[in-house]
Symmetry: none
Subunit: 213 residues, 2 copies
DNA sequence: CCTTGCAAAGAACATCTGTTCTATTTTGAA
DNA sequence: TTCAAAATAGAACAGATGTTCTTTGCAAGG
């Protein structure tokens, strides 16, 4: 199997990894050996192209003067999100209210990078139990990242508790004159319409994470 | 009158600031001029003390080999995964060539916590384009975390390239005596059976991440 | 076929940069 | 004060490292 990554992409990745590992940028010769390049001039050549394309900035005449422009890893921050329970059809959704928030103790937590949850408050996670959400493209065992809210904008995916049916589900919510339309995320499925009185919004979905073995 | 900041304190601050400003660590002579020190040997002398005290790590014989230890533990368990392209039915699975480079590669990366990818090698990510993977519970715009492999265990979800159909797809793969069974992740869907000759495995799916607004 | 331009190899070069050595000054305790 | 340790100066050295130049291979276009 031949090399899958193009030379320039390999260089970018290598610099990024080197930076994380070492705390300082690589030399041209580090890149040469790290990316299997044959000559320093080839690395130099490609670095110039990468600079022209805007991926890096080079500081001439300065050793290790390669600055990665795309991303500042220092800003990356991991957040511990509590997995406070599971969501399944026919079971109540265990949502923490702001006052009970602090006392919530959860066994599991999820590590999420800052990018997924941008400065948002009231984030928690639920584990999906059962196959009742497949129409929302959510499988058994998936983790849904949630944000605690009372109201949602039209079209946002939210955790809904249908009082009459005693059923929890994840759907896109559209508020229309006489009823609320719950649209599955799967475009091949039909929406369902429910009485606003019957709906209780428990939070909106920020992200879905499915981990396979 | 004495300087308020001790020399060593000044050095630490200078290194930190220099790193933020430049993206690479300072040389000893940068420190000399930045902290008003009179000789490189003095800077060297104090850097050694700082290393002994545990504030920095020095990499000998390496230019700019000064690593600030204070902020690094957070970075340790965060990984930058390159999003190297997109996967869609009817398009080749992106093996980045110089032309796909410009349009797709981007310096786009995904920050993933160590837990999601446990010490695995050859991890990359693809963005799913189109609705052709809904039977695998994967939506338009989802990110799939992939690992390069040639063979997969029975039941693992993998990126498949069907040569005859010229179609890329994500399915669970089961190798059976005379054919390969491709099972959608969605249990409501039927499997398809294909000739082993027609199948090219491009990598297996480690995780699916769907980010909603 | 020839030309042109991109990409790559390899080597030589200039200088950037950490290290080291010795001499000198300052500090702090006895 | 006196002396030893700590800290500072300055310079020279050796190795690390970016740059540049020439040559070569290859593919596209005329």
């Amino acid at each position: 199997m031949k090399t899958v990554l193009s030379k320039q992409q390999c260089i970018i990745n290598f610099i990024r990894q080197f930076l994380v590992d070492s705390g300082y940028p690589p030399t041209i010769r580090d890149i040469v050996s790290g990316c299997g390049i044959s000559s320093t001039s080839v690395a130099d050549y490609n670095l110039n192209i990468l600079e022209k394309k805007g991926y890096i900035r080079r500081h001439r005449e300065i050793s290790r003067g390669i600055e990665l422009l795309s991303h500042n890893p220092d800003l990356a921050n991991l957040n511990q999100i509590p997995i406070i329970g599971q969501i399944a059809a026919g079971e109540p959704i265990p949502v923490p209210t702001p006052d009970t928030w602090d006392s919530t103790i959860s066994a599991e937590t999820l590590e999420v990078s800052e990018g997924l949850i941008q400065n948002r408050e009231g984030i928690y996670a639920l584990k999906v139990k059962g196959l009742s959400m497949v129409d929302a493209l959510i499988n058994d065992g998936d983790i849904v990242l949630m944000q605690y809210v009372n109201v949602v904008d039209n079209g946002e995916m939210a955790a809904i508790w249908l009082k009459a049916e005693r059923e929890a589900t994840l759907k896109k919510v559209y508020i229309e004159p006489d009823y609320i339309r719950l649209q599955p995320a799967n475009s091949q499925m039909q929406p369902i319409y429910v009485d606003p009185e019957n709906v209780e919004i428990q939070g909106k979905v920020i992200a879905v994470i499915r981990q396979l073995t």
